[in-house]
């Protein structure tokens, strides 16, 4: 059964590498090949998750490489891995279909889909990693495999964004390396253990330095999770092709950062060691500042994708805030927002991408009247926007409600500040999402098109993913209770 957990990592990486060698001319052949690889990987991931769910957590354990007795590259699927694995397994093939159409106008598709497939495997490795070393290695590989995707167009802006992404990511990873050294020194094991791995005898007298290391590595992982002040690579990276910004910069890469922070707090240092300390205050404050900062910048941003990128920054910190509460309720709340934000934000990015693809318009003030020409795109945009801004019972509300009430339950000023930050951000969210809808439907000063050149809804490659994701986002909101029950398993150490 160990194949089930290592195949979803190896298969897409090899499939991606093979695409470079093969370099097919035919669009059709490439599409079939890429889609088949993605779907195969997805089905293996789902099979692995199902097997683990029914047969217990050790069923799919796998050790890829053994460096020494304490240092291995090994995989293990626990409840948190299942959640993250499920998110990417569902979203990757959908994004692939969207990308087939979108990448027509960007070109260099073989290179793009090669790296795109490889990143699939790497993110899967992050989801299934059993210990900090494995997590670290896949984390570095993720930067490498996604860098060519960010720099895809290779123009001035893309190269700048790529360089920035590279420098930020590797600086963050360096901080994480320091964490590894300290964990090897002071921990009992590198394997993720709910409640923490610190050796209580060894840490006596060293608490403050360990907390400092925690804060350092929090910001190290925080680079990918776009926590203020190490967030600024993300808006710049919105020059990447839309499938990349949608899947990697709203879901896979940034959620890897958030996921790693969750591992760090709950499975590394342990909440008992951190709860109520100044270290917690620092990381909570960072999350709170990011929530408000991201939303405020999103209101000011006029570039559609940049605006969504700032929105992502803010929403990622909702999740981080949930995690930094260091309570079971906070953990569950963060995870539930992670699921909902993934589905909603990818849809919003797809809409922005569809508009760019069909009309070449990139700025929010260029939208007037477009909804009448592209009804499907703007309808899905509006529904997802309502979800994200927190109209009950849609997803954003469920996440926000749980994070805020868990935050208030701390009973400290910082907890109240967290709930207040969510409220401020919710108001700002309305102000940066809905004017687009309003202008696109009601604004009178529409540009006049002759009928032959009027923009239309894109074809099925794009519309089907949009509709699927929107329907999925809404449907998910109606099963939020069972979903929460599933997620609370993580907080129960499953």
């Amino acid at each position: 059964m160990f194949l089930l957990s290592c195949l979803p990592i190896l298969l897409p990486v090899l499939a991606g590498a093979f695409l470079f060698l093969w370099n097919p001319e035919s669009r059709r052949a490439r599409e079939i090949y890429v889609m088949a690889s993605a779907l195969l990987t997805t089905s293996i991931i789902l099979a692995a998750i199902l097997t683990t769910y029914t047969q217990g957590h050790d069923a799919t354990d796998c050790t890829l490489v053994r460096f020494s007795s304490g240092m291995t590259l090994s995989l293990h699927i626990d409840r948190a891995s299942m959640i993250f694995g499920m998110i990417i397994a569902v979203l990757w093939p959908i994004t692939t279909a969207y990308a087939f159409e979108y990448m027509k106008h960007e070109g260099k598709e073989n290179k793009f889909f090669g790296f795109f497939l490889m990143s699939y495997g790497v993110v899967c490795g992050i989801a299934f990693a059993e210990d900090f070393l494995t997590l670290y290695i896949f984390y570095e590989m993720l930067t490498l495999s996604t860098l060519p995707l960010v720099m895809h167009s290779l123009d001035q802006k893309a190269r700048y964004a790529g360089r920035k992404y590279f420098i930020y990511s590797f600086s963050g990873a360096a901080a994480v390396f320091i964490l590894l050294i300290f964990l090897m020194q002071y921990g009992t094991t590198l394997n993720f253990t709910y409640g923490g791995v610190l050796d209580l005898k060894k840490i006596v007298g060293e608490e403050s330095i360990l907390r400092a290391v925690f804060v350092l590595s929090f910001f190290g992982f925080g680079v990918k999770a776009a926590v203020f002040p190490v967030h600024s690579w993300l808006p710049d990276a919105s020059v990447a092709p839309t499938p990349v910004t949608a899947l990697l910069h709203a879901v896979a890469v940034v959620k890897s950062g958030v996921f790693a922070i969750m591992r760090l707090i709950y499975f590394g240092f342990g909440t008992e060691f951190l709860y109520g300390t100044s270290a917690q205050t620092v990381v909570m404050a960072a999350a709170i500042v990011t929530i408000v900062f991201g939303s405020a910048r999103a209101v000011r941003a006029q570039h559609f994708k940049r605006r969504l990128a700032y929105s992502t920054i803010s929403n990622l910190s909702y999740i981080v805030l949930g995690f930094t509460l260091m309570t079971p309720a906070g953990l569950t709340a963060g995870l539930v927002h992670m699921v909902f934000h993934a589905v909603l934000k990818i849809t919003l990015f797809f809409c922005a991408g569809a508009v760019m693809y069909k009309t070449g318009r990139e700025y929010v003030y260029e939208m007037p009247g477009l909804a009448r020409k592209m009804p499907i795109v703007f309808a899905t945009y509006t529904v997802s926007a309502l979800g994200l801004l927190g109209l009950p019972p849609l997803g954003g509300f469920v996440g926000k409600w749980n994070i805020a009430t868990a935050s208030v339950a701390l009973g400290t000023p910082m907890g109240y500040a967290g709930a207040a930050a969510l409220i401020v951000s919710a108001v700002l969210t309305v102000l940066y999402l809905l004017p687009v809808t309003v202008d696109s439907i009601w604004s009178r000063d529409t540009l006049v098109y002759d009928d032959a050149h009027a923009p239309k809804d894109p074809n099925a490659y794009m519309c089907v993913p949009l509709l699927l994701l929107t329907a999925g986002g809404v449907a998910l909101a109606f099963v939020s209770q069972p979903l929460m029950a599933l997620l609370s398993g993580v907080a129960a150490g499953m």
């Binding site: 469920v398 109240y416 108001v427 102000l431 929460m484």
Partner: protein, 478 residues
């Protein structure tokens, strides 16, 4: 049973979007509105067991149910919605984009009906947000730059208000504040955390007060209401502001309960804010020349009468507030409709341009006059009774602040007379050298105005008719 008042506006709204021909669409709108009112009446008579719509993770659920307060608002809202609709048919035809208007008109009613039958605070919040979102298109109707600005201002303020309320709810959830509404409050005795709850109440009242136009979040109202087409401004001013009042009633009397709030700093501060709103609204209305804007300022002032009554936290105060809700809805709707009719016929928008209008559109101006008298509070119109209860309960219970309150109400009544009666006077008595031309509006616009004017007048003549059930209702809150 509980779903019917929500389903009819939904179905009607969808039909209104789809039907292109005018006559069948109008028929369909009327049918939906009549059915909504009928099902509301049936629901009020027969009652219904609470229903759970959906359990949301995190220990909350969306629940519907009906109680006395819900019945009052349900009937008021569905009746006014039905009465205003015929006025809108010719008016909106003249403005264009009919399908959009009636579609959203009905969908907004859906959210209001939901608001009335909400069984807990989360459900209330959901319908409250829906109401904001669905009524935005009514403000946006003309699609001009000014309408866009007004709509976004409306959106921003409303969402900020609703979010403040949500913040209060976050704080409350821990103490069981997201459970089912019950008269007298649902919070257990909380001892040392009382300061937190009082703070939460303060924030929630400010937040819901936004829709009701209370200081400090009143600025959107006078921008948004005048921009909308007249029938929309009528319901926005007359009814949707009352949704804010309903929100405050629900939180104050059905979640917190008056007992833990009486005499706190929050109560006093909010009372002062309400009085400030009453006074400043009237003064600004007095200064304002644009008729619809003047009426909007008047709404700011008048709705805060009701808030002041609620914040007294006494049975008489609550009774006065409920009466004020009813009579202001009737009076302000007739005023906006009459103003709309006058603008529709003459194109004049400023209060000093209506010289002789009483000769030209006598029925319209008579209706306007009755609405004005009720709004000022001159007996025997209904407004007199609501203001009487408000003033007496203020003096009875609250020494100095109560006397100041009563004085403010009186002063505001004088100002109200000052900004409404000159229009009536100049309209009926234009002076000698005036040649009127008849241009009264048609029956479908007159009938709604007459009905609303009568409902501002008749319950005043037979005051027991309305005051009896409402006094029972307000007594049940304590």
């Amino acid at each position: 049973m509980l779903f019917l008042p929500l389903l009819f506006p939904l179905a009607g709204g969808i039909c209104a979007f789809l039907i292109k021909k005018e006559r069948p669409r109008n028929l369909c709108v009327m049918a939906a509105l009549i059915l909504t009112l009928a099902s509301s009446v049936a629901l009020c008579l027969r009652g219904a067991e609470p229903v759970t719509l959906l359990n949301i993770g995190g220990g909350i659920s969306l629940r519907l149910g009906i109680d006395g307060m819900g019945r009052f608002f349900l009937l008021l809202m569905s009746a006014v919605w039905l009465i205003v609709a015929p006025f809108a048919f010719p008016y909106i035809k003249h403005e264009g984009r009919d399908r959009q208007f009636f579609g959203f008109y009905l969908l907004t009613l859906l959210s209001l009906m939901g608001l009335c039958v909400s069984k807990n605070a989360v459900t209330l919040y959901m319908f409250y947000e829906l109401m904001t979102l669905l009524s935005i298109p009514l403000v946006l109707h003309s699609g001009t730059e000014r309408a866009r600005y007004a709509a976004l201002k409306y959106l921003g303020y409303s969402v900020a208000g609703a979010s403040l309320a949500l913040f209060g709810l976050f704080l409350l959830h821990h103490y069981g504040g997201s459970g089912d509404f019950a008269a007298g409050g649902i919070l257990p005795n909380v001892g040392s955390s009382q300061w937190l709850l009082v703070l939460a109440w303060f924030l929630m009242t400010l937040g819901f007060g936004c829709k009701a136009g209370m200081i400090p979040m009143q600025a959107w109202l006078t921008t948004a209401h005048p921009v909308a087409p007249a029938p929309a401004s009528a319901v926005l001013s007359g009814i949707i502001t009352k949704a804010g009042v309903l929100g405050i009633i629900r939180t104050t009397y059905f979640v917190f309960g008056p007992d833990i709030l009486v005499g706190t700093w929050a109560q006093k501060t909010l009372m002062i804010l309400a009085l400030l709103t009453v006074l400043s609204g009237s003064m600004l209305a007095y200064k304002e020349k644009h008729l619809k804007k003047r009426l909007a300022y008047s709404t700011v002032s008048q709705v805060s009468y009701a808030l002041f009554g609620l914040l007294l936290l006494t049975p008489t105060g609550a009774l006065g507030a409920l009466l004020q809700v009813f009579f202001h809805a009737a009076a302000k709707d007739v005023l906006f409709l009459a103003a709309g009719a006058m603008i529709y016929r003459t194109g004049r928008e400023y209060a000093d341009q209506y010289r002789g209008i009483g000769r030209e559109m006598p029925v319209t101006l008579w209706c306007f006059a009755i609405g004005a008298l009720s709004l000022i509070g001159i007996p025997p119109t209904g407004g007199y009774f609501s203001k009487w209860y408000l003033a007496t309960s203020a003096i009875e219970y609250y020494g100095a602040l109560g006397v100041v309150g009563a004085a403010v109400l009186l002063l505001s009544a004088l100002l109200t007379a000052g900004y409404l009666l000159p229009i009536v006077a100049r309209g009926f008595f234009p002076g000698r050298d005036y040649i009127p031309e008849r241009r009264e509006v048609g029956a479908s616009m007159l009938v709604p105005m007459i009905l609303l004017a009568l409902s501002a007048l008749i319950p005043g003549l037979f005051s027991g008719l309305l005051a009896m059930p409402l006094s029972l209702l307000s007594a049940s809150l304590f």
